[in-house]
Symmetry: C2
Subunit: 154 residues, 2 copies
C-alpha cells in the first residue's frame, strides 16, 4: 500500500499523466472512462459505509480502500481533456464547464481527494474501524467539495 | 504494492467479498458497477499499451497496473449476484447466462485474472518495459479467455 500512497502523495503525478494520456483517448471515451472511475469508486465507498454501519469486515474495507486509492492515483486529470466539457457522441456528462477554467482550484480539490484516499487506505490497513470511520468522513468531504462546485445535478 | 498482491494472491477473497456485499447492492447497480470496473480497467490497459507501443512512461504504467490490480482485488464476484443475468432497469449487460451456472470455471478465470494483475503490477514496479510487455500479454490472455466464454457481442 505504501507505494500507492507515495505515488499519490507526489501530487504532480495527475498532471503529468494528463499531459501524456489525453491525446490518445477520444473525448467521448474520456467521459465514459471518468464516469466509470467515479462509479467504481462509489461502489467501493458503499462497501466501506456498509462495513461501518454494520459488521466491520476488515478485508473488504482494505480491498475497497486500496481500490479507491488506486483510482485517485490513476491520473484522472487525463480524462478531462478538450472536447469533454459537454455531452459528445452517446456520452452525457454532469461536469460544469467552470471546471475547465479553474485549473488551480480543480488541482487543489483533486490533491485533497488523493491525500484523503491515501489516508483512508492507511487507516484500512490498520484494521481499526474508528480510524477508518474518521478517514471515511474526510474523503467524503473531498468528494462533496468537488461535486458542489463542479458537478451539475442531471 | 506487495500488500495488494498478497490480498489478490489469497484467491478466496473474491468469494468472501461476494457473499457479504451482493445483498446490499441492487441488481441494476451491480451491473452498472461491474461495467464501470471493466471500463476503468480497459482505460488502464490502454495506457499501458500506449506506453509499450510508444515512449515508455514508468510512472504511468505503475499507476495503471496498480489500478488494474486493485480492481482485480476488489471482489468483483459480488457484482454478479442473482438478478444480474440479463438487462434490468436501464442497465444492459453483455454477460452470457452460462456464467451463472459455471461457478468453478468462472472462479478459475477470475483467479487467473487476479494472478496476472498482481504479476503485471510487480513487473510495472520493476520499471522494465520487457517484463511489463510479457506480463501485459499474459493478462490480456486472461481477459480474452473470459470474454470468449462468457461475454456476448452486443
Amino acid at each position: 500500500m505504501h507505494k500507492i500512497a507515495t505515488l499519490i502523495a507526489s501530487g504532480a503525478i495527475a498532471l503529468t499523466l494528463a499531459a501524456s494520456a489525453s491525446a490518445q483517448v477520444k473525448p467521448e471515451d474520456q467521459i465514459k472512462y471518468r464516469k466509470a472511475a467515479y462509479s467504481f469508486t462509489s461502489w467501493n465507498m458503499g462497501k466501506i459505509k456498509a462495513s461501518l454501519d454494520g459488521t466491520y469486515d476488515a478485508a473488504q474495507v482494505k480491498a475497497a480502500a486500496n481500490a479507491i486509492a488506486a483510482v485517485a492515483g490513476s491520473g484522472l486529470g487525463a480524462l478531462f481533456g478538450p472536447g469533454t466539457e459537454k455531452a459528445i457522441g452517446d456520452q452525457k456528462t454532469a461536469v460544469k464547464p467552470e471546471l475547465f477554467q479553474k485549473g488551480a482550484e480543480v488541482g487543489k480539490l483533486a490533491g485533497d481527494f488523493a491525500t484523503a484516499a491515501a489516508a483512508l487506505a492507511k487507516a484500512a490497513e490498520s484494521g481499526d474501524a474508528a480510524q477508518v470511520k474518521s478517514a471515511f468522513g474526510q474523503i467524503g468531504q473531498t468528494c462533496k467539495a468537488c461535486h458542489d462546485q463542479f458537478k451539475s445535478r442531471n
